[in-house]
Symmetry: C2
Subunit: 236 residues, 2 copies
Amino acid sequence: DLVQAILAALRPVEKPLAGKTALVTSGPTHEPIDPVRYIANRSSGKQGHAIAAALADLGADVTLVSGPVTLPDPAGVRVVRVESARDMLAACQAALPASGLLDVAVCAAAVADWGVDVAPQKLKKQDGAAPPAIALRPNPDILATLSAAGPQRPRLVVGFAAETESVIDHAVAKRARKGCDWICANDVSSATGTFGGDRNTVHLISADGVESWPDLPKTDVATRLARRIAETLISP
Amino acid sequence: DLVQAILAALRPVEKPLAGKTALVTSGPTHEPIDPVRYIANRSSGKQGHAIAAALADLGADVTLVSGPVTLPDPAGVRVVRVESARDMLAACQAALPASGLLDVAVCAAAVADWGVDVAPQKLKKQDGAAPPAIALRPNPDILATLSAAGPQRPRLVVGFAAETESVIDHAVAKRARKGCDWICANDVSSATGTFGGDRNTVHLISADGVESWPDLPKTDVATRLARRIAETLISP
């Protein structure tokens, strides 16, 4: 660790994102059903956390809004922990700079599409009675909200699409629907091991088309994405 | 650690449960909704894991059937990891001794009352469409199944009741309904911090009535319960 730190300190430093501000969301959201139950998803936060770390490595001032994960906080990143999608949106809005624009927002969190109207007491099983209905309601759409045109729209908005079928088609449609600039689409079928695993196969979808990256460690996906973001933000 | 180990080795050893078999369930269950979403609950597994460790400390041969937790396996305990309630029941039944009786079963897991008929592909949000219905179905009742009279019924069956209101009344009714011998009732209202926390206030409900223990660390609750189990199993 000490040797690593010394080597890192001696290495010529490239900080193309110095002075740039970034917001990254990561992890799942938990949507409470009652005081003890909730709806979750299999996102580990590994990809989002790695992106926050990679942007910070390139010099960006990074705020990471994270759902419940068991990962350590990345070094050099401001971390805000939230539980539900509503909390995550509020934290993202609070992270927008009071003056000036956010340079890039990367929405890597697996935000629940639906929340539940929370029961104030634990739902009880009644012998002989039918199971209770869980009434879902749409959650706020964080990616679409950040992508909407307006004076606070980040200069570059990147979304993720976690799909189990027709990955690219669904992601191309999602990019158009949400109004974001790029979508990183990945296949999260259980056979791929993407959710919770350490590797990811990403298709980067932009106005220029589809760029399919090879299967890579999530840290390398993060580095590659951070470099692409830097190129885009510093090009004239 | 070395000093502790030497002291432990020198301490006069009491193994009142030597030769006895125990099954403990612990943690939450995760009930899949589709390939990425699931219903979870706030159980950390701390209480159940501590009980498995305490029974092993008293010499019992312990199988711990655990839902998804982030805890390390207790030393000296056989651990079977499961996800859903159905898997947990199957693992419990597989853990029953082929010949002879299980001496004690402690059902400390927070088993989901309801599962979901799993969608084979990720449920998609459709703009303008109502949220999908999540059709719940009753899960197998592990405590009632283990408590049912029959040649394989464990000699002593202990359940847990996690309640947010009318804690003792609900637990007394639960004991009668499930057919178990004892219920450890605890208040898991979020204000108590029981779920995920390190302390617990337990009411032990048996045919003899209600015994309310003070607020204790979960490890002390486990030690106290393991001793009560030992007294009961070795009394004539």
